[in-house]
């Protein structure tokens, strides 16, 4: 079943992927794998689901996006630039001295960033606090928080999961980027955080599993989550690490890897032709 924003979001996702690839460039290391795996969800949030205004980043009633897996800042930078929070000219200054785009998300450096993340495991707690504050003020805002499946080995994630459930933060939606690969290899072999559905259910969350690289499915699932009240919600987004780049898909070397010049050109051909979002 198609979603009314499907075409727009699919085009945005391609644009995000090209932005990500451009930011890293050929023969440079970057967190390509985890940025690409979650690109469809991030596109769905920024180009359909979230209420936000690039002209007014501090609009009090905006929805918030917290990238708890802060090492994939590339995907958030890609989305923010595509939305118009800042110029794509900043891409070439990624991780350079005085540049707007730091190695990890930084409120003080980049318009549109909502929290400093990068030390894994903390973003969900920040998102919980935000959700609680917004609820206290009676604001309609929702808080979306993207987690990595390697990241959920951090104990603080489960402290936050308990708190969200205790305080019935139904304006909070976590998204678990379940690409099944952590930095050093497969989750199952290196440090098994499965089963995830049962864990989140046991912590009192409403859990939905979805193909996280299927834009229509993600959009429908995000819409459905709006109807669930009284508890926090998590979308388990089953994704492919490196999604969209055949040479990077399910390839742990691209957790923080570099493309050859040929691979970069292949990416350009895949994403660039119709990248611009109307």
């Amino acid at each position: 079943m198609r979603h009314s924003d499907q075409t727009k979001v699919e085009r945005a996702a391609r644009a995000l992927r090209w932005n990500i690839v451009q930011m890293v460039g050929p023969n440079q290391k970057g967190h390509l794998g985890g940025s690409l795996s979650i690109a469809d969800v991030v596109a769905a949030l920024y180009f359909s689901k979230m209420r936000h205004d690039p002209e007014n980043p501090s609009w009090p009633d905006r929805d918030r996006f917290i990238l708890s897996k802060g090492h994939v800042a590339l995907v958030q930078y890609a989305a923010l630039a595509e939305c118009g929070y800042f110029s794509k000219r900043e891409f070439s200054k990624l991780k350079t001295l005085g540049g707007m785009l730091q190695g990890h998300p930084d409120i003080k450096s980049t318009p549109g960033i909502e929290a400093n993340t990068g030390s894994l495991g903390q973003g969900l707690s920040i998102a919980c606090g935000m959700a609680a504050g917004l609820k206290m003020d009676g604001r309609p805002s929702r808080v979306y928080c993207v987690l990595g499946d390697g990241e959920i080995a951090e104990g603080q994630i489960w402290e936050a999961a308990l708190a969200a459930s205790h305080y019935k933060l139904d304006n909070l939606v976590a998204v678990l980027d379940r690409n099944c690969l952590q930095a050093m290899g497969s989750i199952v072999n290196r440090f098994n955080t499965n089963p995830v559905v049962e864990k989140w259910q046991a912590f009192g969350w409403h859990v939905v599993e979805v193909d996280g690289n299927d834009v229509a499915a993600v959009l429908r699932a995000l819409d459905d989550l709006d109807l669930v009240t009284g508890k926090p919600k998590i979308l388990i987004a089953c994704t492919v690490k490196g999604a969209g780049l055949p040479f990077a898909e399910n390839n742990v070397a691209f957790h923080n890897g570099s493309m050859t010049t040929e691979q970069f050109e292949m990416a350009r051909q895949l994403f660039c032709a119709e990248a611009a979002v109307s």
Partner: protein, 312 residues
């Protein structure tokens, strides 16, 4: 001399602030009857968050609340507030300079019964080293009340360490508290003792004792450990023959480090009264610990006598 409990004053002041400012919110790590955040819970249950025994989450959660315009005060024992949640303070609060107040209770050796796990000899050192963080240690209940109000008025992250011990009033009731300022508590002409927390009253005792030795001690309360007005510290040492620091903390990274750094080119002799590089332990009362760790008025007099001789 009037003796008061600082935690009690802290808890009551939070309630005052809560009545004045609806953005004040309080988070607690299941120690509300020790930290005395329980008063705020009673007064404003809808602005009070019991966070369970999960200090890391409490700290980051407070960061999230501050990003919606709240002014959160987090509460736990200093050992956990500063120790267990160090990374959350560093990454989530201080990097973005968020408006969160961290209150480390039962600090120093004051939780004498619980012993080394619950005592802090290093919290000030850890907190001072984090950029953007303001670090404060009140000397008595009067200063606690003024300090808590100043913390709430200041925009940015603040760490305040509060002792469990009842302390005599030393801070003038009519004196404003300004973050960064050291306060002259008692004048003297031979040796200046820069002290904070419980050691300010110990330094006053030392000043009384030293009269018998013909030694005049000036007592300065350095309750702001960061920022601290270095020029004011230098002015307060003018004409002195020597300097003594006195703190209920390791001599590494706290007041001793500040003063030796500020006066490194002064040529003045300096002695440091503080905890040598070791952990605390259980004891029958806090005075026994102060004796064991060299934190009595007698130790201050000895240090002052030593620097006065050296600088004569």
């Amino acid at each position: 001399m009037n003796v008061q409990n600082l935690r009690e004053t802290y808890g009551r002041t939070l309630v005052e602030l809560g009545a004045e400012n609806p953005n004040i919110v309080v988070l607690e790590g299941d120690l509300g009857k020790s930290t005395m955040s329980c008063y705020f819970e009673e007064a404003f249950p809808n602005r009070y968050f019991e966070m369970g025994i999960a200090e890391a989450n409490m700290t980051s959660f407070a960061g999230g609340l501050s990003l919606t315009g709240k002014i959160p005060f987090t509460n736990s024992f200093a050992a956990f507030a500063a120790g267990r949640a160090y990374d959350q303070i560093r990454q989530g609060l201080c990097l973005p300079n968020l408006n969160v107040k961290i209150v480390g209770s039962s600090a120093g050796l004051s939780d004498y019964g619980d012993g080394s796990t619950h005592q802090t000899v290093e919290d000030i050192a850890i907190m001072r080293a984090i950029p953007n963080l303001t670090v404060l240690v009140p000397s008595d209940a009067i200063e606690t009340r003024k300090m808590v109000r100043a913390m709430a008025a200041h925009h940015g992250p603040v760490y305040m360490r509060v002792t469990r011990t009842d302390l005599p009033d030393v801070f003038p009731e009519d004196q404003d508290f300004v973050i960064g300022k050291p306060y002259l508590i008692r004048d003297g002409k031979d040796v200046v003792v820069f002290a904070n927390g419980a050691m300010v009253s110990k330094a006053l005792e030392a000043a009384d004792l030293a009269i018998a030795n013909n030694l005049s001690i000036r007592v300065v309360n350095v309750s702001s450990l960061k920022p601290v007005d270095e020029m004011a510290l230098r002015d307060l040492a003018q004409g002195m023959r020597g300097i003594v620091t006195a703190e209920e903390h390791s001599v590494i990274g706290g007041l001793a480090s500040i003063i030796t750094y500020v006066f490194r080119k002064s040529g003045l002799p300096i002695e440091c009264v503080g905890i040598e590089d070791r952990f605390g332990q259980s004891a029958e009362n806090v005075e026994v610990l102060f004796e064991e760790y060299g934190l009595t008025s007698k130790h201050i007099v000895d240090a002052a006598t030593s620097v006065a001789g050296a600088g004569a």
